[in-house]
């Protein structure tokens, strides 16, 4: 009986060592395989590849107000985006300007957007009744002065498109 246990434990000793070494070799094969295939390198060489870098079309870089070629946008100044923003990253400043018939109507003066506070939840884009806001693709926002992160989205001298209903 003692001999049997002894032989058993000796053979277990050697088989443990051997299977342990085999498992180590299995792991080494994985890393060795990647060592000899430099084509598997997944690093993107940014910023050298800026010219060919294309983000996805729905990429959430920042909030922009798209203007067409006549410098017209779609923002009526209703303030729904300001109400829906969870942390106050949008401030709407409106003006009352007499329209074509002479009656004073509300017009957007400044659509202030605080990029430093925005959480990119997308509620302003979704709830705008005239689809005036969209997500832009620029993502390099680092600045030296924090005030440069407060942007006015409507460009100077731009007006609302005629067909947008209020």
């Amino acid at each position: 009986m003692m001999n049997f246990e002894l032989m058993n434990s000796i053979s277990k000793y050697f088989s443990d060592m051997f299977s342990g070494l085999l498992s180590l070799w299995a792991g080494m094969r994985v890393t060795g395989k990647y060592f000899i295939s430099p084509r598997a390198i997944v690093t993107q060489q940014y910023p050298e590849n800026r010219a060919t870098l294309k983000m996805e079309e729905r990429f959430k870089g920042e909030i922009i107000m798209p203007h067409d070629e006549n410098n017209l946008h779609a923002c009526t100044g209703c303030g729904i985006c300001e109400m829906n923003c969870p942390n106050g990253s949008i401030e709407i400043i409106t003006d009352r300007i007499p329209n074509a018939e002479g009656k004073p109507e509300r017009v957007i003066d400044k659509h202030i957007y605080h990029l430093s506070m925005c959480t990119f939840c997308g509620l302003c884009v979704k709830t705008c009744p005239s689809d005036a806001l969209a997500f832009g693709q620029k993502f390099e926002h680092a600045v030296f002065d924090r005030n440069n992160l407060t942007k006015v989205l409507n460009q100077p001298g731009s007006k609302i498109r005629k067909e947008i209903k209020k």
């Binding site: 498992s23 299995a26 890393t31 996805e56 729905r58 990119f120 997308g122």
Partner: protein, 374 residues
């Protein structure tokens, strides 16, 4: 720690106290362990939390239900979709709104993708904690494929705020199904490599077998749900106990192990990755056409009362409890987060193990600290 406790714990003069944290070299987050050691053996461990408390539950009392979604993203950021889904399901059940089938399928697909991505990141960080630094890069390289799918449909990689009360924020990209199928084919080839590199490795097995034993009774007593609890033999998968969304339409197994040590928890998570891929395969071709949202009022007001919903995140059971007084803001919103319960079992399962085991055990529990502190 108060002076009285300190006197009780430090019995002999050979004991000493060290701090591990709040800045970890690993990716767990800002957490501080105050460890009382005798030589190399851990005698007592006290976690100190609160370094990333942002007051999410209090903030929820001041904003409306669609606005709460972007806050739930940031609790357990590795299962962002599932957190969103919890709040949305609670609100929809309260309002008795029936979401379209398409929404249910897409929500389940997103939840499983999130679970896969979360387990991939867990595997990377776990290997790195134990010293196998290449696992970090292999896991993240494969996770990038899932994040690319997310970026194409939602625009962001980690925090999407996509699942809204009533449905989804917008429809998914037309390439969604094709890319998921490509990913499944790719990852089925890569996952055996993970086993070759880490699971079968004798050094890894010696470091994780028999380490951090958690019995089934301990798991139930502390409420350790998720893969950590299933590693001790507690069958606690909410997807089986109280199915929601499209989980009653898919066939999948709940992975259980009975050993209760670090290696068992590891095996549970690896098998869950295979199961997630099976679920994805069953769902991805059968997404019904339809609307991406049900018709909801612009201002959501829940009727007066209390509402409760549980979901299974990548780490355990997340439960949402809303008390509403009829307004558009909730009166009180409480989250029962899985990581909070998982963390406080650390003292029981780390006693009498070595300092090197502490790192392995906390890695196997897969803690995400913002979920603890909210």
């Amino acid at each position: 720690m108060s002076e009285e406790i300190r006197d009780v714990i430090i019995g002999e003069s050979e004991d000493y106290i060290i701090n591990i944290g709040p800045q970890h070299p690993s990716t767990h987050g800002v957490l501080r362990f105050e460890v009382c050691l005798k030589g190399e053996t851990v005698k007592y461990l006290i976690p100190h939390i609160g370094y990333i408390h942002r007051g999410i539950e209090k903030m929820c009392e001041a904003i409306t239900y669609p606005q709460i979604i972007h806050l739930t993203d940031r609790m357990d950021y590795l299962s962002a979709h599932i957190n969103n889904e919890a709040v949305c399901l609670c609100v929809e059940n309260a309002l008795q709104v029936e979401v379209p089938e398409r929404v249910k399928y897409i929500r389940t697909i997103l939840a499983e993708l999130n679970r896969l991505a979360s387990h991939q990141l867990w595997w990377s960080a776990f290997g790195m904690d134990l010293g196998a630094l290449t696992t970090f890069f292999y896991g993240l390289r494969d996770r990038e494929k899932i994040l690319d799918i997310f970026e194409e449909s939602f625009g962001s990689r980690l925090l999407h705020s996509f699942v809204m009360p009533g449905g989804l924020m917008h429809d998914v990209h037309p390439n969604f199904q094709k890319r998921i199928k490509e990913f499944i084919v790719y990852f089925r080839k890569k996952l055996p490599e993970y086993d070759q590199l880490l699971t079968g490795n004798i050094i890894f097995q010696n470091r994780s077998k028999g380490v951090g034993l958690m019995s089934r009774e301990t798991a139930i007593a502390y409420g350790v749900t998720g893969p950590s609890g299933r590693g001790s033999g507690w069958s606690c998968d909410i997807r089986k106990i109280a199915p929601y969304s499209a989980y009653d339409k898919v066939q999948f197994n709940e992975m259980l192990e009975t050993d209760g040590d670090t290696f068992a928890r590891y095996k549970v998570r690896m098998r869950e990755m295979w199961e997630s891929m099976n679920i994805l395969e069953q769902l991805v071709d059968n997404i019904p056409e339809g609307d991406y949202t049900a018709k909801m009022k612009p201002i959501i007001k829940l009727p007066v009362g209390e509402y409760f919903q549980r979901v299974e995140t990548a780490r355990g059971e997340l439960a949402v409890y809303i008390v509403s007084d009829g307004n558009k803001n909730p009166y009180r919103m409480k989250f029962r987060t899985p990581n909070f319960s998982n963390l406080f079992v650390m003292n029981t399962i780390t006693s009498n193990y070595k300092i090197a085991d502490l790192v392995a055990i906390s890695g196997s529990l897969d803690l995400v600290i913002p979920d603890i502190d909210r």
